[in-house]
Amino acid sequence: MKANETQTATVKVLYFARLREALGKGEEEIVLPEGVDTVGALAGFLRSRGGAWAAELGVGKAVRVAVNQDMAAPETRISGGEEIAFFPPVTGG
């Protein structure tokens, strides 16, 4: 890669159930901002959008995250190319 090229890392982000409705979308591509390299940092970036994003993903909200369809933790690393899903606690069965 040439020095003057900027590397862009994108992730596919999915939202389910109550979150999908509250946020008004089920899926989006996000270019990872500088320094966003964990699930927790991505959640923080999404919260910075304000409004429903800040409310639904805020502290104390029960939100689960999966990276590439495996359950993840705030410290789970992301580097681009992942499928990251945000959803409420599950209620099947």
Partner: protein
């Protein structure tokens, strides 16, 4: 295929017959069927809509079945879970386990349901006279699943 997520209803008898077909070593079959009730949290339920995460839901169900196979001496296990809009009296979920003796089937069946309810990505939304609402996860379901760890 021990795991299916589908819109269509299922026939419990046919599923059990298929699972034990041709295996004379099976001495026990335990099954569980979850059904839509007409009442939840004190409100009448008109419809129940189930959403899932295509890909991850199947994968997590397969992992739960694999865990049951490791923990108990069973022959086979089947999980069928419906998605889409259902109404009271409709079947939601089926778990079937076959084994030589009843103990393994009973336990593995209960384990599969407890883990499914707390780990597999499904979400329920119900319509009541008060309007539509997402069903909240229950602490009692987490407690039931924790028994196995």
């Amino acid at each position: 295929m021990p795991v299916r997520v589908q819109h269509e209803d299922f026939d419990v008898g046919a599923e059990i017959a298929k699972l034990r077909e041709g295996n004379p070593a099976i001495g026990a079959v335990a099954s569980f069927v979850g059904i839509v009730r007409d009442l939840n949290e004190g409100d009448a339920v008109a419809t129940l809509t189930l959403e899932h995460y295509p890909g991850m839901t199947e994968k997590s169900l397969e992992e739960i079945v694999a865990q049951a196979r490791q923990r108990w001496d069973i022959y086979d296990a089947l999980v069928v879970h419906r998605v889409g809009t259902l109404k009271p009296l409709d079947q939601i979920v089926l778990v079937v386990v076959t084994s030589a003796h009843r103990g393994e089937s009973f336990e593995a069946c209960e384990f599969l349901m407890d883990y499914l309810k707390t780990r597999a990505p499904f979400w329920k939304k119900e319509v009541t006279p008060e309007g539509a609402r997402w069903v909240d996860a229950r602490a009692s379901d987490d407690a039931a699943a924790d028994r196995w760890s």
